[in-house]
């Protein structure tokens, strides 16, 4: 079952109301535990298996990763367990006689090392657990701690235990601890912390039943007394008390002879974070990702393309012929519109799946946290902390979650700057266009051309970041890098597959809606004639409303070498979604008669268009087009995410900045490139 949803809770403090764990129960439309049922919050430091545990308990899928900041919103799901009740006489349930079903509302809160609110995410966790009224807090809090790094996870336990709240500690990563010859005595730890402690391995789904039992028992008991603290407001005194308490607990309950022993991870880190080898390895890894993506996905993409333009289109046409609808506007809409557009979207599936798979492997292996160390210096020249690298990397998959991921940054101005820079990271939707154009124009060098676009993307982020830093953000300081490096481990198949599936499904869901609407809108605009004597659906594209609008805009791109109206129209729909760029071309060229001497293949059409518009310099023109595509607005979904995070004014500022940058760069690339090619 998959009964989870993501909610955005208001951030404290300002003038917004305090977040409420109970209030958000009302937002679950169905399968809810109900307002009277228990609400359990999952909290813990980043990388302690919290989101994986949430998935294991709710059966849902939440994006997980082996680096800080993966959970940037509150995920909510229903955890179906059983409640011990000897008197259960329910007729329909399938539980044992002495148990009745219990649906617990489970919240997966953002990763937090403490309740000290260093970032909006930690602020949210603090707001839910500490600042809100007692009646609005969760009924129980599960704190996940990493057995191999026990001491620093216990600080959060110390703070949560100071609240009037039921607490259950879930000890994860025991396998990594065992590799380091460390072990935790859960009974001793439970006695020292004054709350139940359960060992669990959410990655392998073990220990979930004992955890459920501990939670059930704790929920049935009254709220325990908070841990006594010294009667003072002095933060340093309180901290001293906490550290003394947690050090004693850790010392009593853990056996850690290998705690400071060097591991294989340390040996690898010596290379991957080293001054020269680090950046070289980082670039090699990124290059390999894009090379593998383009090389493996291209044949699959071609096969799918052939399938949709061949058998599927023919089948639909045959069905329409049977219904006597061939040659009508219905055929135009279905075959040239929907089948071509949706088919084009589906040909991207191997490409996106592969990209998500490789990013998921890098995340789950622990490498991305090291990449944040390697890029820290670069980030800080823009006034951004090393952590800002994380949302930017996510942006290479999709810009929309990357915008949400900026919430891990503590400073509002750093978040704003990162939100404005994320759209310059080349998402997987843009990759599809780059691969297509790369294959058509650069042949066997397509992989290198695509890689160059990614290098250009990084350069754009840095240069625009520097420019903004020197102008609008002159007074902004840079936070020093403090990052907890997770141990390297082999990614698990189930977890990686789950992340890839979730991201792919999310992208396709977003894209398919946009694609269908865009394809229908394009078809409609192409069907409405602008001259007399032509009927709806029977008009040459250049005489349609669509052709006229594109023709009006096209001259703007003349200095960049791509002022063909078909190219301009692809950029117009690309504003809505980059996935629609190729489908727009497919739609536009499919409705035209092939010119004499042309095969009618899409690649030939596009090549001919660039040769003509560039005055015989198609390569600089197509590079200019790719740079424009890289730099201007990624999609309307990103704009919506930006508006949500930084407001309309800054979103519009971002749009203007990107369009200006894109046009200037495209003109520069073409004008300089034509001197050589």
């Amino acid at each position: 079952m998959s009964d989870s949803t993501r909610v955005r809770l208001p951030l404290t403090p300002a003038k917004t109301p305090l977040p409420s764990a109970k209030a958000c129960c009302h937002e679950i439309p169905q399968h809810t535990a109900g307002v009277d049922a228990a609400v359990v919050a999952l909290v813990g430091a980043p990388n302690t298996g919290k989101s994986t545990l949430f998935n294991g308990l709710t059966g849902s899928r939440v994006t997980m990763g082996n680096w800080p900041g993966t959970t940037v919103e509150v995920s909510k799901g229903v955890w179906r367990t059983t409640l011990q009740s000897p008197s259960c006489n329910c007729e329909t349930c399938t539980c044992a006689n002495d148990e009745s079903p219990l649906a617990i509302t489970l919240l997966d809160l953002p990763g937090a090392y403490s309740l000290d609110a260093h970032s909006p995410d930690e602020q949210l966790t603090r707001g839910l657990l500490q600042d809100g009224p007692v009646s609005e807090r969760p009924d129980l809090c599960i704190v996940t701690i990493d057995a191999s790094r026990m001491a620093h996870g216990l600080y959060l336990v110390a703070q949560v235990r100071e609240l009037a709240m039921r607490v259950v500690v879930a000890v994860t990563m025991s396998d990594i601890a065992a590799q380091r010859e460390m072990s935790v005595d859960t009974a001793l730890l439970s006695r020292a912390l004054g709350c139940p402690v359960v060992e669990t391995d959410p990655r392998r789904r073990t220990g979930l039943v004992p955890l459920a039992a501990a939670v059930r028992t704790a929920l049935a008991d009254p709220v325990p007394a908070p841990r006594p603290v010294p009667p003072t407001d002095d933060a340093l005194v309180l901290d001293d008390d906490r550290f003394t308490w947690l050090s004693e607990a850790a010392e009593r309950a853990t056996v850690a002879p290998g705690n400071d022993r060097l591991t294989l991870s340390d040996k690898v880190d010596r290379w991957v974070t080293a001054p020269i080898a680090g950046p070289v390895i980082f670039l090699a890894v990124m290059w390999a990702v894009f090379q593998i993506t383009t090389a493996v996905a291209a044949p699959l993409q071609n096969a799918l393309d052939g399938f949709f333009s061949g058998p599927v289109s023919h089948a639909v046409t045959a069905l329409l012929t049977l219904a006597h609808l061939n040659g009508t506007w219905v055929e135009g809409l279905l075959v040239n519109g929907l089948v071509a557009g949706v088919g084009m979207l589906l040909t991207f599936v191997p490409l996106m799946a592969l990209m998500f798979l490789l990013l998921a492997l890098l995340e789950d292996s622990g490498y991305l946290a090291r990449a944040a160390v390697v890029t820290d210096r670069l980030m800080r020249t823009m006034g951004l902390p090393g952590r800002a690298f994380l949302p930017l990397v996510v942006g290479f998959g999709c810009n929309v979650p990357a915008i949400s991921a900026t919430r891990i940054l503590p400073d509002a101005r750093q978040r704003l700057l990162t939100v404005l820079l994320v759209p310059f990271t080349s998402c997987s939707a843009r990759l599809t266009v780059f691969v297509m154009l790369g294959t058509v124009f650069f042949g066997t060098n397509a992989g290198t051309a695509v890689f160059a676009m990614y290098v250009a993307s990084v350069a754009l982020v840095v240069l625009v970041g520097l420019l903004l830093r020197r102008t609008l953000w002159r007074t902004m300081g840079a936070e020093p890098l403090i990052i907890d490096l997770p141990a390297y481990h082999l990614p698990t198949l189930r977890l990686t597959a789950s992340v890839v599936w979730q991201r792919l499904l999310g992208s396709l869901k977003t894209a398919s809606g946009i694609i269908v609407v865009t394809v229908c809108a394009v078809w409609l605009l192409q069907s409405v004639p602008t001259t007399g004597g032509q009927s709806f659906g029977q008009v040459p594209v250049e005489d349609s409303v669509y052709g006229v609008v594109a023709r009006t805009i096209a001259p703007v791109f003349a200095p960049a070498g791509f002022d063909q109206w078909q190219t301009a129209s692809a950029l117009i729909v690309g504003f809505v979604a980059k996935e629609a760029v190729i489908s727009s071309w497919a739609q536009t060229y499919a409705t035209e008669q092939p010119a004499p001497g042309q095969t009618g293949l899409l690649g030939d059409h596009i090549q001919a268009a660039f040769v003509q518009s560039s005055g015989g310099h198609p390569l600089p023109a197509v590079l200019a087009f790719m740079v424009f595509l890289l730099a201007y607005t990624p999609c309307v979904a990103t704009l919506a995410a930006q508006r949500r995070e930084v407001g309309l004014k800054w979103t519009l500022f971002g749009v203007a900045m990107q369009l200006t940058t894109a046009w200037l760069l495209a003109v520069a690339v073409f004008q300089i490139g034509r001197l050589f090619w």
């Binding site: 090392y113 403490s114 000290d116 260093h118 191999s148 790094r149 026990m150 001491a151 620093h152 600080y155 959060l156 601890a177 380091r180 460390m182 933060a235 901290d239 550290f243 850790a250 850690a256 705690n259 400071d260 060097l262 991870s265 340390d266 880190d269 010596r270 974070t273 080293a274 001054p275 020269i276 680090g278 950046p279 160390v373 390697v374 820290d376 210096r377 800080r380 090393g386 936070e479 020093p480 890098l481 403090i482 990052i483 907890d484 490096l485 141990a487």
Partner: protein, 76 residues
């Protein structure tokens, strides 16, 4: 008693005791990761840009160059 030195000058591979943090803004954050005054840790490696990776309480923490200069240590 050995005199203190900043973390940037400490030799790699040694066990160190943190004797002072000249960074009030990040003191608590470091403390939650186990790096508080009096804590013993091991200096593992130097990273790009002059940062360091330290091993404390089983955790590997990467610190940037500016912070490394603000941590006073002594050989444990």
């Amino acid at each position: 008693m050995t005199s203190s030195t900043d973390l940037a000058s400490a030799p790699l591979g040694t066990s160190l005791t943190l004797v002072g943090i000249d960074d009030a803004a990040n003191r608590r954050r470091l403390a939650t990761l186990g790096l508080r005054e009096g804590a013993t840790f091991r200096l593992l490696t130097r990273t790009i840009g002059g940062g360091r990776i330290v091993l404390v309480g089983g955790s590997r923490i990467a610190l940037s160059r500016d912070l490394v200069h603000r941590l006073r240590t002594r050989v444990a």
